[in-house]
């Protein structure tokens, strides 16, 4: 299946899988840096980079001329 295939409806699980992972990484990052310093801060920062990485990925690699779904 092509990454940009648009002729099949995706399930709710498929639609929200990536956002849920980004959301969980955000929660983990926010929480882990709160409970300690040092290495926990570094892990927290790395986790919180995931939403930014997702945006960068979409902006840099998610471009195509697909058919609109709406």
């Amino acid at each position: 299946m092509s990454r940009f295939r648009t002729d099949e409806k995706r399930t709710m699980g498929e639609i929200f899988l990536a956002p849920a992972l980004v959301g969980l990484a955000t929660i983990f990052g926010l929480a882990i840096a709160l409970v300690g310093d040092g290495i926990l801060d570094i892990i927290g920062c790395l986790s919180l980079c995931l939403p930014l990485a997702a945006i960068a990925y979409g902006y840099l690699f998610g471009r195509f001329g697909a058919r609109s779904s709406i």
Binding site: T26, A33, L34, C45, L48, R67, S69
Partner: protein, 373 residues
């Protein structure tokens, strides 16, 4: 999701966003310098570096430092000791009597390692940071402004949750991260809005909820002051302390009662939040989660034993625990930079959302037509 339900959620998303967008934009922009408040303060209002101390130099006790301060101002009595957060120094306040107003009292910083006076300034906020803080927290309108911003924060939460709900129908046939740049400009902005919004949704929810909680800061702080005053009132019947135990002993008793804490300040008997018979020792938590929480210990000034450790009201604890999640200042500079980037992403969500609405109601086309003619 049925079409009817989708439309209902879209209406919630549209109106909660439209009502709050301008204010949220202002909050996001004014929040940026506040993220780097400490770094900006260090530039605007720099503190002198602490002098180097030879290894093995014996540290004086706090009582010796208090005695030195009293010798500098004969006739004064000790009022309070404030501990600097990031420096081995204390700020000692003395005055002719415990009821002397603060501006008339004598305040001097001392090096904890040597006991010598150091030219550290009291930890105050510069006019630049204060301007952004007041604009960000109350729009220069006091409590009504703060409560208005709290309502805007709740609208942000509603807009984010409804945005997550309406995200699914738009993405039925699109993989995560799709930005259709070769179609119409509106589709590209829609995809960017969806990508930015869904990626930052959890962070925006955290900042929005904690922002709404923080809008109650002033009434909660007033309530905490009242609780502390009531707590000390219970012990006001005790006779005035005669010979005081050393302040170091009072601090040791407080440390023993609250082991995982750092010293914040000490009030001598009769001053500030203490009673005539007690030292009031204020501590703060050691972990980032508890760093803003205050713990109070009333120490009997004659015996040096612990009298009471009242706890803060639950709502004050909730507010103070929520603050790091709003300010993003608990993981050093790297976390602050990430916080600022997420803030910029939130600004982009607001701008793309506004563009989409303007394009939908035809404003963009009307402006282009007018410009072309």
């Amino acid at each position: 999701m049925t079409q009817r339900r989708f439309r209902a959620w879209m209406l919630v998303h549209k109106w909660t966003s439209l009502i709050s967008t301008l204010v949220l934009l202002l909050l996001c922009v004014t929040g940026l310098p506040l993220i780097f408040k400490e770094e900006i303060e260090a530039v605007i209002n720099p503190q002198p570096a602490m002098p180097a101390v030879a290894p093995g130099t014996p540290s004086p006790s706090l009582d010796e430092i208090v005695r030195a301060a009293l010798q500098a101002h004969p006739g004064d009595v000790p009022i309070s000791i404030g501990f600097f957060k990031d420096k081995p120094a204390v700020q000692l306040q003395t005055a002719p009597n415990v009821r002397t107003p603060f501006p008339q009292s004598h305040v001097q910083a001392y090096d904890l390692r040597t006991g010598s006076p150091v030219p550290l300034k009291p930890q105050r906020t510069s006019a630049f940071t204060e301007f952004f803080r007041l604009l960000h927290t109350e729009l220069f309108l006091g409590l009504p402004g703060a409560l208005f911003l709290g309502v805007m924060a709740l609208l942000l939460v509603a807009a984010t949750i409804s945005g997550i709900v309406v995200y699914a129908p738009y993405m039925r046939r699109l993989p995560f991260g799709t930005v259709r740049s070769e179609r119409s400009k509106r589709l590209r902005w829609l995809d960017l809005h969806n990508l930015l919004g869904i990626s930052t949704a959890v962070w925006v929810l955290a900042v929005g909820v904690t922002g709404a909680i923080n809008s109650l800061h002033d009434p909660v702080a007033a309530s905490v002051r009242t609780s502390i005053a009531e707590m000390t009132r219970r012990h006001h019947a005790a006779p005035a302390a005669g010979a005081l135990v050393p302040v170091d002993r009072a601090i040791a008793a407080a440390r023993q009662a609250m082991p995982s804490t750092t010293l914040a300040s000490v009030f001598f008997p009769g001053a500030g939040f203490s009673t005539n018979h007690h030292y009031a020792v204020f501590m703060r938590g050691n972990a980032p989660l508890t760093a803003r929480l205050f713990y109070v210990a009333l120490i009997d000034a004659e015996s040096g034993t612990l009298t009471d450790t009242p706890s803060m009201p639950w709502y004050a604890t909730a507010l103070l625990v929520s603050q790091p999640l709003h300010f993003g200042d608990y993981g050093g500079l790297p976390l602050k930079i990430i916080w600022a980037l997420l803030d910029l992403a939130a600004i982009a969500v607001l701008i793309t959302g506004t563009y989409l609405w303007l394009a939908r109601v035809g404003v963009i086309r009307a402006v282009r037509t007018t410009a072309a003619s």
